[in-house]
């Protein structure tokens, strides 16, 4: 009697492992599918993760009710009707009951835990997971931007993400403008950007670009001697362009701006 109870407990444990494995497969598949679909709308990973977690819990509960000893018997015809008869009579002490328990235990030695799992279904799910993962990785690798669709849930997701941002900090105000994570792709991470509170006075000097046509004249003719040709030819300004700038700070700003323009 103890042996049959031990066997039944072992079967229940194996069934629970199979249930959890199948539920995990379902939830991961759902997560990947949702991630692929929602990335079109430029949404993050939180919503698929949440939905997958909920699906995992519901799936475990539903499968726990569905899988029974009869299910195991259908997968293993050699123990058909025997297993559940033994389970229903596990407290019986009669000779026939003991004989049944002995036979069930003997036959269950040849039954593997894998028979509780629908291998074909699991294989299909794994293949689907690989396919979805491959698509997602390909999209990331080739930097395919498929955010051309307007996000119909923008208002909702904006509210949702602001709420989530509230969990680890408020939106960032920069110069009186609240920058959320939606804008970070344009402006960079709002938390890094910090503008100073001082006003900058920037003056752009137009002198450098003004040409005085009144001073243009033909060059004096020169007798060109062989020694007149320089070995190296380089252009040098007569004076630095910053010479005309009155303030040293203005010169620095102008120099930096010039460098940026060159880039």
């Amino acid at each position: 009697m103890t042996a049959i109870k031990g066997l039944l407990n072992e079967i229940r444990f194996e069934m629970l492992k199979v249930i959890i494995l199948e539920a995990f497969l379902d939830s991961i598949l759902l997560f990947l599918a949702l991630l692929l679909v929602l990335s079109i709308f430029g949404m993050g990973v939180m919503l698929p993760l949440l939905l997958s977690a909920v699906t995992l819990i519901i799936d475990v509960l539903v499968r726990t009710r569905k899988i029974s000893l009869k299910y195991i018997e259908d997968q293993n015809p050699e123990i058909r009707e025997m297993l559940r008869t033994a389970a229903d009579n596990k407290d019986e002490e009669g000779l026939m009951a003991h004989a049944l328990f002995a036979e069930v235990i003997e036959k269950m030695r040849n039954v593997s835990g894998g028979s509780f799992l629908d291998i074909k279904e699991a294989g299909i799910k794994l293949a689907a997971m690989f396919l979805l993962s491959g698509i997602l990785i390909s999209l990331a690798f080739f930097n395919v931007n498929i955010q051309k669709f307007e996000n119909p849930l923008a208002g909702l997701t904006g509210t949702l993400e602001d709420g989530l941002n509230g969990l680890w900090g408020n939106g960032t105000d920069v110069a009186g403008v609240n920058i959320t994570n939606m804008d970070k792709d344009l402006y960079g991470d709002a938390r890094i950007a910090r503008l100073g509170s001082e006003d900058l006075a920037v003056t752009i000097q137009q002198n450098l670009n003004r040409i005085d046509f009144n001073k243009v004249s033909d060059a004096d003719p020169n007798q060109i001697q062989p020694d007149d040709y320089p070995v190296e030819v380089s252009a040098q300004a007569s004076e630095a362009y910053t010479a005309g700038l009155e303030d040293i700070n203005d010169r620095k700003t102008a120099a930096e701006y010039s460098q940026q323009v060159k880039r």
């Binding site: 009869k70 025997m82 559940r84 033994a86 229903d88 009669g94 000779l95 026939m96 009951a97």
Partner: protein, 315 residues
């Protein structure tokens, strides 16, 4: 316990040998023999319905021989009295004194064949049925227990019903099974003719089981485990007989539920299984229910038999 468990494995072979041994005298009718074994293992009684000349008496005699049991045959006639069955006091002279001595009737055997029970008067039928139920006989103020195991096989002739007293439904309900014997096939009948027209009586049958073994097997039968859903299915079938007035006028009682499950357990034991299968329930539903239900007028008008109706209930 391990040895006892191993011995259970040999039961199937034992019952197969019993059927084969009876088959030396009775050709065909294996299913009838199995159903009679079911009734014996359930410590119950059976009704047998067949046309004359199908070997009922030979079959039950062969079974008694194989099981090592005493056999008695009672022919039902309109003038049969209860005392002809159970016995009576007779005056005996001993040592110059006259004393009353109880002379046991044929009912004090292990296996009784009550041929054409529907020809006996209701009073005689009642005496027999009471003995079947109580497993004892009361005469005057004395009670005499019957030898165990005790099994009554009562037959009814389906033709020639004039001047008979058909058993009422309340009495037929006391029989666990109603077994039908059909005509043998062409090949079987040829073999019967071959065997019994040569003047060679088949040799005496071997005794394979004893009365004590049968008592043990009867206890084992009740110990055969059954799953809850299969038990529920058996009860569902019986309760359904009370819920289809278009087919059945009077349905089966809870005694039928007991009968179906017990008969299924015996069936499982004969097949060498240690559990009751759904197939056992469905096979035993026919002999258990066919004498416990009364068909409606509509069903009879459509020409349906009780077996046809039971088949519809099992769908």
């Amino acid at each position: 316990m391990t040895d006892a468990v191993k011995n259970i494995e040999k039961l199937k072979a034992t019952f197969t040998n019993v059927t084969s041994e009876i088959g030396k005298k009775i050709i065909g009718q294996e299913e009838v023999v199995r159903q009679m074994l079911v009734a014996i293992l359930c410590d119950a009684n059976a009704l047998l319905e067949s046309f004359p000349g199908l070997g009922k008496t030979s079959m039950i005699k062969a079974m008694a021989e194989t099981l090592g049991l005493k056999f008695a045959r009672i022919q039902g006639t309109p003038d049969l009295m209860p005392s002809d069955i159970i016995g009576t006091y007779v005056i005996e002279e001993k040592d110059g004194k006259k004393i009353f001595k109880f002379q046991k009737g044929p009912i004090f055997a292990n296996i009784i064949l009550m041929d054409e029970i529907n020809r006996a008067t209701p009073k005689t039928q009642a005496a027999l049925l009471e003995s079947m139920q109580e497993k004892q006989v009361t005469v005057g103020n004395q009670t005499f227990p019957l030898d165990l195991p005790f099994f009554v096989l009562a037959t009814q002739n389906p033709i020639d019903q004039e001047g008979t007293y058909p058993l009422p439904e309340a009495q037929t309900d006391r029989f666990l099974l109603k077994i039908l014997i059909d005509y043998p096939s062409m090949d079987e009948e040829l073999e019967i003719v071959e065997r019994y027209t040569r003047g060679q009586d088949p040799s005496k049958l071997k005794t394979l089981l004893s009365g004590d073994s049968l008592k043990l097997l009867q206890k084992l039968t009740r110990q055969v485990p059954i799953a809850n859903d299969i038990k529920k299915r058996a009860v569902e079938i019986v309760t359904k007989t009370r819920k289809v007035p278009e087919l059945i006028e009077y349905g089966a009682s809870p005694r039928a539920s007991l009968g179906v499950i017990l008969a299924a357990k015996a069936r499982a034991l004969i097949d060498g299984r240690k559990y009751v299968s759904l197939k056992d329930i469905e096979e035993m539903a026919y002999p258990v229910l066919r004498h416990r239900i009364v068909l409606s007028f509509k069903a009879e008008r459509e020409g349906k038999s009780t077996d046809d109706v039971i088949k519809e209930l099992l769908k």
